[in-house]
Amino acid sequence: MRKFNPSISTYKNITDIKLKPLKQEENPRGLLSPVRSPMMNESKKSIDPVIVVAHHVAAIRKRRNITDVS
């Protein structure tokens, strides 16, 4: 009987996540554009770590699939 392995459940949970493309907000460049406060920048930075991992996994998988075909 195999012991409980957390890596199996974490991997399956990550692969179940449906990914949306990360939006990159354009920085306003004009002289009169509103300046963002550092407080707002901090809140913008905080992306869910699970989503970060899911994006990394998807990127590696995509590369794997590309190499498999070739």
Binding site: R2, S7, Y11, I60, R61, R64, T67
Partner: protein, 171 residues
């Protein structure tokens, strides 16, 4: 449930883990990498190193499941104080995917350990094999000529002889 047949005498004494000074262990100190992004960068850099790739390929060729390797790797890093337990759990899928990528590149037939394998339970083929063997044995026994007629043993029950003063007497 698995029960240990022999007592473990050389194991740690209860409470032995608390005898070291607080903060003397790496995992009792703040981790070197606090975010998932840092941990991913660390693992990608370490696992894609040439010497690491050779080791991983060797282990995969031995048939060790990738899920088990990934769990062991992240646990080792937690023990070394590189990252915390929760970051380690989060990073596991990246480690697994990286190892699969390395295995694919090296053309190794690796075992992921993510699916149920034959090791987890008894396979259908084994069950069919065993039942057919049992049937054969039963048929062989039935075909043998019976030399002695076995009489069914009937156990004679001894009637309880009542001994007490207040016991009922037989009429």
């Amino acid at each position: 449930m698995y029960l240990r047949e022999e007592p473990l005498f050389d194991g740690p004494i209860p409470g032995q883990g608390l005898t070291a000074e607080l903060g003397s262990r790496p995992w009792q100190n703040p981790p070197q990498l606090s975010t998932v992004e840092e941990a991913i960068d660390y693992y990608v850099e370490r696992l894609t190193d040439e010497s690491a790739i050779d080791q991983i390929v060797n282990i995969l060729e031995m048939g060790v499941p990738i899920a088990d390797i990934a769990n062991a790797v992240q646990l080792g890093m937690v023990m070394d104080g590189v990252h915390s337990v929760d970051v380690g759990i989060l990073v596991i899928p990246v480690i697994i995917e990286l190892m699969m990528y390395i295995g694919d590149q090296a053309n190794v037939q690796y075992e992921t350990g993510l699916d149920k394998t034959a090791k987890d339970g008894i396979s259908d083929a084994k069950i069919v094999n065993i039942t057919s063997k049992l049937k054969q044995k039963i048929e062989e026994k039935d075909s043998l000529p019976k030399t002695k007629e076995e009489k069914p043993e009937v156990e004679e029950k001894e009637e309880d002889k009542s001994v007490g003063l207040m016991s009922r007497r037989k009429v």
